[in-house]
């Protein structure tokens, strides 16, 4: 549905987006991750046809966004960053305006507004002027605008920004539900959202894609992935750490917690170790040493750690460049 090839955007001498390529098919929810200023919004603005790319190609539903923008734009629903809306209009008027520009009239328009209002929980503010709305309501009003024509493609720039935890949860559920039938791209810097809503995630940094995969695949890139954490009662931290480290399958171990009564130790496997060998060896060690094993947990890896390890060096470098 969305095909982006080698997308480049230059603002003066600065490359905001530098050679980004990806595709999104129907039934996919693609999460767009990255630090602030990484080029997420710029990419989305190019996909939706707001700004022209400096180089590369964007195809939306078979239409080239640069050469044939009108039919391409028809397929897209777009929630821009900061959820802009005409402040002098009522919610109903604003949604009606969006519906009419989407070619909906009469009964179809009324139905479309009703559906969007229901999905975004806007019944209470329907006749209220947009500038009297709270941020959450305004955000949902703009979100309602993006789904008013039940588009095949949704591009959402930080759809949960400024919402309270309940609303965040609702929007994520909505995205996941709609993602079964549509192609959705959404940007966020909240990592739990990737788990909650995405089928695939892309991490973008300084205009380039630095990681692309399912949330599980990304997590496996974490240093933590495959490590085993043990919780043992009534043991000496030093001895436990030493014994664990002495196992041939363990590359490195660290004592996380030691409050006297309970010790928490994490063991990282050697790169050559097969799946399952580390936890088996550790369990056997605990039995041999007669440790009171309270917990043995295989770590899945954490997205935030992957995110940091991929984007951190660049962020640091940028800060240093900024201070010079």
């Amino acid at each position: 549905m969305i095909k982006v090839e080698n997308l480049v955007k230059a603002f003066g001498p600065k490359l905001a987006v530098n050679g980004v390529s990806f595709t999104v098919e129907r039934g996919e929810v693609l999460g767009f991750l990255g630090p602030n200023g990484a080029g997420k919004s710029t990419t989305m603005r190019m996909i939706t046809g707001f700004i022209p790319p400096t180089g590369g190609r964007i195809t939306v539903g078979g239409y080239d966004m640069v050469e044939n923008p009108i039919p391409a734009k028809r397929l897209i629903g777009y929630l821009p960053e900061n959820a802009p809306a005409y402040t002098d209009m009522t919610v109903e008027g604003f949604l009606g305006f969006a519906a009419e520009l989407r070619g909906l009239r009469g009964e179809a328009k009324k139905r479309a507004i009703g559906r969007a209002v229901e999905m975004c929980f806007l019944e209470n503010v329907l006749y209220q002027s947009v500038d009297t709305l709270s941020k959450g309501y305004r955000h949902r009003t703009c979100f309602a605008q993006s789904i008013i024509h039940d588009p095949d493609i949704l591009v959402l720039d930080e759809p949960t920004d400024g919402l309270d935890p309940n609303q965040k949860h609702e929007v994520r559920t909505l995205i996941r539900r709609m993602g079964e039938k549509k192609a959705i791209v959404f940007s966020t810097h909240i990592l739990e959202e990737v788990d909650a809503a995405c089928t695939r995630a892309i991490i973008i940094d300084r205009g380039q894609i630095v990681a692309n995969g399912t949330p599980t695949e990304l997590r496996q890139r974490s240093e933590l992935a495959g490590a085993v954490t043990l919780r043992i009662a009534d043991a000496d931290a030093g001895t436990v750490g030493q014994k664990v480290r002495d196992l041939p399958v363990v590359r490195r171990s660290e004592v996380l917690d030691n409050n006297g009564a309970v010790v928490r130790v994490r063991a990282f496997p050697q790169p050559t170790v097969k799946n399952g060998d580390l936890e088996r060896s550790l369990y056997e060690l605990a039995v041999r040493e007669k440790w009171r094993l309270l917990e043995l947990k295989v770590e899945e890896g954490r997205l935030d750690e992957v995110f940091r390890s991929i984007t951190m060096p660049d962020t640091k470098r940028r800060v240093e460049e900024g201070t010079k």
Partner: protein, 263 residues
């Protein structure tokens, strides 16, 4: 992908969107925006008060002893100088400030449809304000036997002149997200268009410039072109002048918006 696009085109085939519909939708929203805020009412009241004041008090409507609206129309270029940019200044700068420009231009509408729609709405608004001066016509018809043709062409010329000023305001409002800056720039541009044909300025030019140069300079002025409308003459050159200013300014608006989007 081709199967994909076929499904898609059949889905949009049922949706009738055309240029006119888009323009009308955008214009309706824009016009409603004027009347949703106090801008419209303040503008209309001030416009009518000033028109009345200048016509009767400064223009000497009664002292002239003739049944014409000359003392009414002669003030229009000067009144519009400040009032029309005030109407036009928000057209695009407001869209940029609110970020709704991103919304509008990612809808399936072309940039020129958006420009024409917004321009048409504010021009219609000015036409409404101008139309509300109809008591002038009633007064002058009651008092005497005016040339209704000249009054009609006067109104036509006034409306075209307002359109030209407005198109310039539209252009300057696309340049900046700051409405005050937009207002000032368009006042200055409109002032230049007035001054280059204003008798005191042309008389000064005549002293040292060759006559053809004076003609060219004054040919750019709204004054010279508005004048014949006031006399009841619709010269196609005057008509083309105003339409050309409108066309050029709206075209430039499009260029500015495009270059702004391109970064």
């Amino acid at each position: 992908m081709s199967a994909d696009s076929q499904v898609m085109s059949s889905a949009v085939a049922g949706v009738h969107t055309n240029a006119l519909h888009n323009i009308v939708t955008i214009a309706k929203r824009e016009l409603a925006a004027y009347f949703a805020s106090p801008v419209a009412y303040v503008f209309i009241v001030i416009f009518l008060l000033l028109v009345g004041f200048f016509t009767f008090m400064v223009g000497g409507f009664f002292e002239r002893g003739e049944a014409s609206l000359a003392s009414f129309f002669m003030w229009h270029p000067w009144l519009y100088l400040f009032l029309v940019p005030a109407v036009g200044m928000r057209l695009w700068s407001e869209e940029r400030r609110l970020g709704t420009m991103e919304l509008l231009l990612t809808m399936p509408v072309s940039t020129w449809q958006a420009i024409v729609g917004k321009f048409a709405a504010s021009w219609l608004f000015l036409a409404i304000a101008l139309g509300l001066t109809f008591p002038m016509v009633i007064t002058v018809s009651y008092l005497g036997d005016p040339d209704l043709g000249a009054i009609f062409t006067g109104y036509l010329g006034s409306l075209l002149m307002a359109g030209a000023y407005l198109a310039i305001g539209c252009m300057t409002s696309a340049m900046t997200r700051n409405q005050v800056v937009s207002f000032i720039i368009s006042v200055v541009v409109c002032l230049l268009l007035i001054l280059c044909g204003w008798p005191p300025v042309t008389n000064m030019l005549v002293k040292w410039a060759s006559p053809w140069l004076v003609d060219i300079v004054s040919g750019f002025s709204v004054m010279t072109h508005f004048e014949s409308f006031q006399r009841g003459v619709v010269d196609s050159r005057d008509l083309y002048y105003f339409l050309a200013v409108i066309g050029f300014s709206l075209f430039t608006t499009g260029v500015i918006i495009r270059s702004h989007r391109a970064g």
